[in-house]
């Protein structure tokens, strides 16, 4: 276990470093810098600005300098707004985490419930309906769903007000973000639940006269949930990237929006900071998922 953990942690660190390097060198390849404006400032001002943010140095040296600062906890200031990036990220992440966290919770809870219902009523009406809806759910991109929800509930029916920071209503964005992972978890739970219900220990429990509810929760569901754990890592990645469009559609100022706008703004420090932050989140989620999976199921052997 220890060897495996060390190996996975090492891999995680390597991949974060690679992401940081790719991002840094790639964004320097984009023509146009952060200080190229339509109204050109004087060459002296331009030079002074570039010197101040180390932009006049060769790119590899800039990279080393930047990484050194980040490791010391200094994420720099935004080249566009001049604000401290770390406080900015904290503020925006609070919004994104609220949205993404609730979406993940909704997806997991409803996914497991629907999946269990489908498995227990196999080939009957509830199962058929759930299968139909989940197939539909996995075929609909989140941005389509989000725009349709906005159109129907905010603009046509006017049931839910359009999102604003003074009157935030997270219901629609959460629905838009959680449908796909929910459908996926439902499918996953259904197959593993069916698998679990066919096991010998379930027959034994039935023969002993264990009450059906107890049997389902204690014996079947507990074992059926192990494969669901493996999906948590990919789900975090899906929700983080999905929130880029969903936040955009509902005009929520979260981390996703700031990632996309920073790229178009050539705001180097913000691009680096958001990419690194999101990459670390995803990599850590994957790492924890893998480790948890091995911990929960003792049958899995370590390489």
């Amino acid at each position: 276990m220890l060897k495996y953990t060390i190996k996975r942690v090492g891999l995680a660190i390597v991949s974060v470093l690679i992401v940081s390097a790719i991002t840094f060198f790639a964004m320097n390849l984009i023509p146009g810098g952060p200080f190229n404006k339509e109204k050109a400032s004087s060459p002296a001002v331009q030079q002074e600005l570039e010197r101040r943010y180390n932009l006049d140095k060769p790119v590899p040296e800039q990279y080393v300098l930047y990484m050194k600062n980040v490791l010391h906890g200094d994420w720099g200031v935004s080249l566009k707004s001049g604000r401290d990036i770390w406080t900015d990220i904290q503020m925006k992440f609070a919004v994104s985490a609220k949205l993404g966290g609730s979406a993940a919770l909704v997806a997991i809870i409803f996914g497991i419930i629907l999946g269990s219902i489908a498995a227990l009523t196999r080939n009957k009406l509830p199962d058929r309906m759930i299968v139909f809806l989940t197939t539909l759910g996995t075929a609909m991109p989140s941005f389509v769903l989000a725009t349709l929800l906005l159109l129907v509930f905010c603009l046509q029916l006017k049931i839910i007000p359009v999102w604003s920071s003074s009157n935030p209503n997270y219901v629609l964005p959460i629905i838009a973000l959680s449908i796909y992972p929910m459908a996926y978890i439902t499918r996953l739970t259904k197959t593993s639940m069916l698998d679990a219900l066919n096991q010998d220990y379930i027959r034994t429990a039935k023969a002993k006269g264990v009450p059906a509810v107890w049997m389902i929760f204690k014996h079947a569901l507990r074992n059926a949930l192990i494969p669901v754990i493996t999906y948590v890592g990919p789900m975090v990645a899906y929700i983080l990237t999905g929130s880029m469009v969903v936040e955009n559609i509902f005009t929520i100022g979260g981390l996703g929006t700031s990632f996309v706008t920073s790229i178009t703004n050539r705001d180097y420090t913000t691009i680096m900071a958001t990419t690194l932050f999101l990459a670390i989140l995803m990599v850590v989620a994957n790492l924890l998922t893998d480790l948890a999976y091995k911990l929960v199921d003792p049958r899995i052997t370590f390489e």
Binding site: L11, A12, V14, S15, I18, V19, I22, T23, A26, M27, L29, I30, P31, G32, T135, L136, T138, A139, M140, P141, F143, V144, T147, L148, L150, L151, L155, Q156, A237, L240, T241, M244, V245, N248, I249, F259, V260, I263, T264, I271, T275, L278, A279, M282, V283, N286
Partner: protein, 362 residues
């Protein structure tokens, strides 16, 4: 009388084989006609592919998906030559842009067009209306579907080729080669792909633009090419992993050992003995790769990072429709329905292929 053929056979002294020379002709009985008949092949022998197709044909959902996809493909191939409008052409009236032809509803005509109809001229209807620049929306949807589908298919084929070659080599040669190749895969696999895709598609787009200018590639648009490069760079890893696993389990079979014993070349063993046995996995994964590529493409286009204007894709059509969402909701609904339809049909077809071709489920 002793049979000469048997008697002349040279035998090893220590051989435990039956000594045929000791038998006489009458020891053997001729096969009766009935026995001979048993050897006749009654039905045509079935191949792996035929067998799978037979099972696929019995799956109504998969067949419906094939029909829907066939209709869509025929439509996007044929319709551009039937509809007299172009995807990048605004409606014209008397040589200038027809200002009345913008934002038309479904099956509506502009004033200038109505005058022409009154004059006895035939005007092709705007089936889905026109967009804010007066371009026929129907033909834009057709071209958008074309772009989205071809991105999906090309990406899937690229992923297939790279993943197949890489996975087969790693799995077959094993040892140090496998270890190093799979470490690389592990690292690429753990990268957050969407972040890099967004970043790289912006970077490559700007970098490629001056390079491809003037070549045939320019027509495709730097955005499309950068999208392909990004897909090729990041999405092949899961395919490579799958193929490697398959090759690893197949290469220990007796027939591979037999082939190696008679001195068959590695390349022949791989292409003739191992890869045909992974065919089911390859078909299924490729089929499921197409919708996921279409998903990613529409996502990028929706963020405004997709194909370059005036070319369009289903994702960028949906993105453009957001501006007039309240007044012209059909412009969002139509591309949305087509994306869902394509992805749904491809997913169901992929599931059907899995049921039909996966030998483990037989």
């Amino acid at each position: 009388m002793q049979n000469k053929d048997y008697a002349n056979l040279k035998r090893n002294m220590l051989s435990t084989q039956v000594d045929i020379s000791k038998f006489k002709d009458f020891d053997f009985e001729k096969a009766t006609d009935e026995e001979k008949k048993q050897q006749d092949v009654m039905g045509e022998s079935t191949t792996f592919f035929k067998d799978g197709m037979k099972r696929l044909r019995k799956n109504p959902l998969a067949m419906a998906s094939i029909i829907i996809l066939a209709i869509i493909i025929v439509a996007i191939l044929v319709l551009p030559s039937i509809v007299p409008y172009k995807y990048d052409q605004s409606m014209m009236a008397n040589g200038i842009r027809d200002r009345g032809a913008t934002n038309l509803g479904i099956m509506e005509y502009s004033k200038a067009e109505l005058e022409r109809i009154d004059a006895g001229e035939k005007v092709f209807p705007h089936i889905f209306g026109t967009d804010s620049l007066g371009r026929d929306y129907f033909i834009r949807v057709v071209y958008g579907t074309r772009v989205s589908l071809s991105v999906g298919i090309v990406a899937a084929i690229m992923v297939l080729i790279i993943g197949l070659v890489y996975g087969a080599i790693a799995g077959y040669f094993g040892g140090m080669v496998d270890l190093i190749m799979m470490r690389i895969v592990d690292i690429i696999y753990s990268l957050p792909d969407m972040l890099l895709i967004i970043l790289l598609s912006v970077v490559l787009d700007d970098v490629l633009k001056p390079i491809i200018e003037g070549t045939i590639l320019a027509k495709l648009g730097s955005n499309m090419i950068s999208m392909f490069i990004v897909f090729a760079l990041l999405y092949w890893v899961s395919m490579a992993r799958l193929i490697r696993g398959q090759v690893l389990s197949i290469k220990n079979n007796e027939y591979v050992l037999a082939a190696r014993c008679i001195g068959t070349k590695d390349s022949r063993i791989l292409t003739k003995h191992i890869l045909p046995n992974c065919l089911s996995v390859i078909i299924i994964t490729t089929a499921l790769q197409v919708p996921s590529a279409i998903f990613t493409e529409s996502y990028l286009s929706f963020l405004g990072l997709g194909v370059s204007i005036p070319m369009t894709s289903l994702g960028s059509l949906a993105n453009e429709a957001r501006a007039g969402l309240q007044s012209y909701p059909h412009r969002l609904v139509i591309p949305a329905i087509i994306i869902c339809l394509i992805v749904l049909a491809l997913n169901l077809l992929g599931d059907g292929l899995r049921d039909a071709f996966d030998s483990k489920l037989k």
